[in-house]
Symmetry: C2
């Protein structure tokens, strides 16, 4: 029999003996039992509420009386940092007292990760200076952090030093210090638990933002915006061209910085905090977006051999980036893999990449560019393919982004050649004559349409319109040549037909051929002839019908139930890197381990691409 | 017998065998023989000139033909990086091909240190990007630094990244990278050896600056200026008071930053470089000066217990400090020891502090404040004492700084009571009637005068003027009471007598009493009753007559030949920390190891001070 009272934590069943004078929190920490304590066990935050049973504890303290409600006191709730076992006991830890978890989707399954960001708050109650010691304010703070939180060898940034003396005295020697990667970056008077971070997926066309509470991992607000750099060109190459003009790079940088700042302001307002409460921003973008945001030269990215200035992730003081967060905070970029496989793909792989034991996974992330990765959790090969903007609904006759009013799903009756469709923002399927207010067709809609046109015999295997069909929906004399009408003018918002033209079909064919040929190269390089699962990342992947995608030969064959749409994996990955130091490390490992294949130089890629333009046999 | 040709380096006598294909530089490096090679052995810099003898070498290369002069080629001079032994040989390394040394003065002896700053240049000749590798520009650079200089795990700063792509292409993949503490901070096209740093001793009254070539350790320029903060108060306490006013701290900061920038510009111009070629500035100042320069709050330094915001040294990006050096460079401050024992004293101890095996040394650094240290190379105790400004020649009736026109030495004939004196900027000793152009009296002059007045019986042991002397130089009815005339009006520049008044004598007595009482406390704390040597730092220490100083009881007894004036040790220390990473480390160790005694709270200090006001028995 050991010494001390035997404590059993519930529901985990973890048990051990309390040493003399230990609090329940001390015991939990010693046993590795997860229990929150944002204030470091000072009886201030109230995070460590527990329910002791079958045993007795030390009397309720003044701190507990301040924090616990009368009904909590009545039902026996205690603060683990205050209660000391007075006998053997069982202690129930409720879910909200556990350290938070977040989830990413991997191989179609969600994988949890601990919310343990690289920035934490340390609440400290320090002693006043005495004449017989000669500690600086910084020295006193660091001693407190070492004794309370076990963090050693820290420095204090100049920015934090500027506020340290005032905060210590204003807070009566009680302060909250934010510690990040070996540095104290902020010192606030008193118990100041607010600690927020932002994660951004900066795409060529769209920017997605997440505002997160770094202490709980909760998403406090989200926002999405069009990338205002689009005014200077639709794709990365036109942005690079624009950057070479006088002030071009500055204009592009100001555009994206302004966009991020506007999103930060909006998200902060909706969460009821100030933009200054945001101490870190993690950005995942493609290589060109990240270079432009950081003010790095992009000319070498515009020409063979497409060399980035830097591939590794960066961590730069916010004021050097123009980002309007806490000025002692940092902007962090995730590492890129290769010229056109950017940090957004690193983030997507982090959130939804291949894992060991799941077979061979193909990750397809379609945005303005298409990024591909194949892996089995051990090896990882990536490539970028120029799909063009068709899958984003751009540069089609009636194309639009996946936004309200976009036709997102299409079915065509093989007998009547009549269309049914769904519209983003509306419930249900529509047929001819319904007032649907459709404004255009987005990427998933056009893939559906092309697949169904082929299955219904409107298109032949080469992608050409079959001649001589007598149907009001098939016109051979449209303004751009042959076209198929999905919605007639009276159904739509603009009062004009929404059609899929021969040009649109060709754009889809080129895009899907690039994707398929890329996937085939990766499979050949990986040494497999088929994949066990396909993960579709990006908004497009969420809306696409996997069966139709395979019907037109956009994806390699794979059972439809093993195709997993995972949404904005890049954004989820950026969020994971913000919320978890371990995930941030993993992002670095992924970028380092991933091999990059340059498709444009790959022997036989062009032949594969040409062969992939037509549709597979039905 | 080993394999390979036996090479003997001269004049060291170090010998070893050359392995197949090794250059003379390779052999020297392997044997640890000091040989400069700023370009890393690429045949570009010409630093590694050697004179082989008694043996043969590989033929002269194209690189050598470009660099060596005809007469050098004629006398057999070679570049060690190009010449490969073709037989056993003796190789003479001339002094200018050796890695540079610098010296500090310690315990009265000069101690050499290697010029090995924390910033070095790496000259690289890189391969152009190929399509089958996917290195970023930064990755290529870091690979080159690793293979050429053995430096691993480096990062590239954002500032350097902004220029990296352009520099690589402009230089045809030959670049010079400046590496500092694990980071590449600058990338310039081609072989660009210029690498400069500045060291500053920022005193309350005076600022001294040194511009150094970081590759050779040579001082390229020096400058001194009055600290323009003096307009806001003479001493640190009045500066602290001014800092508490609206914008006061900003005005003080702008004043010192402006002063440093003006000095940088002046020194750079005189060295023929741009201020942008200066990549680092090391500052040693007292605690208040460093806080004001860094924009840190000083209020807590103005009141008991005199707590600094930070004691450790800082390293801050230059743009954050307003310093107009290379914007990717850093401003580094040295660590402070205690509230009023600042980084200037750390620097003085680094340059001239006690060393093991030299007995007990007392270091006395007299500026606007007096700092004292006692040590034996193992233990070190420091204190600060309020000497007032008398030793700087300030606040005396005819006082002035030690500048041209100042009376710096005084002798008084005990019989005639006639004075002889020396004037800064003039040769020789002057007597009554000489047109000396004297403008006033500085600290060393007034100490001489008081000592000689006492020895000549003009002052009694309490410091009072002896009554009833009948001499034209002793007046009892001066404007401030009794006074002694050192120079009559017709000898001086201003056409009025330069005198030492009873008030001046009293100021010297208070100053020397503070110093002696402080030294006595340190000796008591250290456990000794006498010291083996005294090191006098500061300009004052250079000019003072040690015998006179001991005659008035300003220093504890010590043989006069064991009192070493070492000049501006703080400036020399700042320079040493700039030029040598090892010295920078040592400065940190000194600040950590030094114990600080607060004299104002020390039991018995006031009694010692009162007892020290009079003069010792003759």
């Amino acid at each position: 029999m050991g010494e001390g009272f035997l404590i059993t934590f519930q529901p985990s069943g973890v048990r051990g003996r309390a040493k003399g004078g230990e609090t329940v929190l001390d015991v939990a920490r010693r046993l590795g039992e997860g229990l929150s304590a944002n204030c470091g066990g000072h009886g201030v935050c109230g995070n460590c509420r527990v329910l002791p049973a079958h045993g007795s504890m030390s009397p309720v303290t003044r701190e507990e009386l301040k924090i616990l409600t009368p009904s909590e006191l009545a039902d026996g709730t205690r603060l683990a940092c205050a209660a000391r076992p007075a006998s053997g006991a069982s202690v129930y830890i409720p879910e909200q007292s556990r350290p938070p978890l977040q989830y990413v989707v991997e191989g179609g399954k969600s994988r949890p990760y601990d919310v343990a960001p690289e920035i934490i708050n340390c609440y400290l109650e320090l002693a006043e200076p005495r004449h017989d010691e000669h500690l600086s304010d910084a020295g006193r703070l660091l001693e407190g952090i070492e004794s309370g939180y076990g963090l050693t060898g820290l420095a204090v940034t100049l920015h934090a030093l500027k506020g340290i003396s005032g905060a210590l005295r204003e807070g009566g020697w009680k302060v909250t210090a934010a510690v990040r990667r070996g540095e104290v970056i902020r010192v606030l008077p008193g118990y100041a638990p607010g600690l927020y971070g932002a994660a951004f997926d900066v795409g060529t066309t769209t920017v997605a933002g997440y505002l997160c509470d770094l202490t709980t991992g909760e998403v406090a607000a989200t926002d999405a915006a069009a990338n205002p750099q689009s005014a200077f060109g639709d794709d990365v190459l036109s942005r690079i061209t624009h950057a070479s003009a006088a002030d071009g790079a500055v204009r592009l940088r100001d555009a994206i910085t302004g966009c991020l700042n506007a999103m930060l302001g909006k998200m902060a307002a909706s969460a009821g905090i100030g933009a200054q409460d945001i101490v870190e921003a993690v950005v995942a973008g493609n290589t060109v977006m990240q270079h432009l945001l950081m003010g790095l030269p992009v000319a070498a990215l515009g020409a063979y051999p497409f060399t980035p200035a830097v591939k590794g992730g960066m961590s730069v003081p916010a004021p050097d980036t123009g980002l309007g967060i806490y000025p002692g905070g940092y902007l962090v970029t995730l590492p890129v893999i290769g010229g056109f496989v950017g940090a957004d793909h690193t983030a997507a792989l982090l959130a939804a990449g291949p894992r060991p034991g799941e077979g061979v996974t193909l990750l397809v992330d379609v945005g303005t560019n298409g990024e591909l990765a194949i892996g089995d959790g051990h090896r990882l090969i990536t490539a970028s393919c120029a799909t063009g903007p068709a899958f984003e609904g751009a540069q089609l006759r009636h194309g639009m982004r996946a936004a309200p009013g976009a036709i997102e799903r299409v079915v065509i009756d093989p007998e009547s050649l009549e269309a049914s469709y769904r519209v983003i923002g509306k419930q249900g399927w529509f047929r001819a004559g319904a007032k649907t207010g459709a404004r255009g067709i987005c990427g998933s809609g056009v893939v559906d349409a092309v697949a169904r046109m082929y299955m219904a015999g409107i298109l032949d295997p080469s992608g050409a319109f079959v001649r001589g069909l007598d149907n009001q929906r098939v016109r051979y004399d449209g303004p751009d040549g042959p076209e198929y009408v999905i919605a007639f003018a009276d159904e739509t918002a603009a009062g004009r037909d929404v059609t899929v033209t021969a040009g649109d079909v060709r754009a889809v064919q080129l895009a899907k051929a690039a994707l398929l040929a890329g996937a085939e190269v990766l499979m050949a390089e990986f040494g497999v002839t088929r994949v066990d699962r396909i993960v579709l990342a990006g908004a497009f992947g969420n809306y696409i019908d996997a069966g139709n995608a395979m019907a037109i030969g956009m994806l390699p064959p794979c059972p439809a139930d093993r195709v997993y749409p995972v949404g904005n994996a890049a954004g989820e990955g950026a969020k994971a890197a913000l919320l978890s130091g371990a995930m941030m490390d993993e992002a670095r490992d992924i970028a380092k381990a991933a091999r990059y294949v340059e498709l444009s130089l790959y022997p036989g890629f062009n032949e594969r691409f040409m062969a992939a333009i037509g549709f597979p046999g039905v």
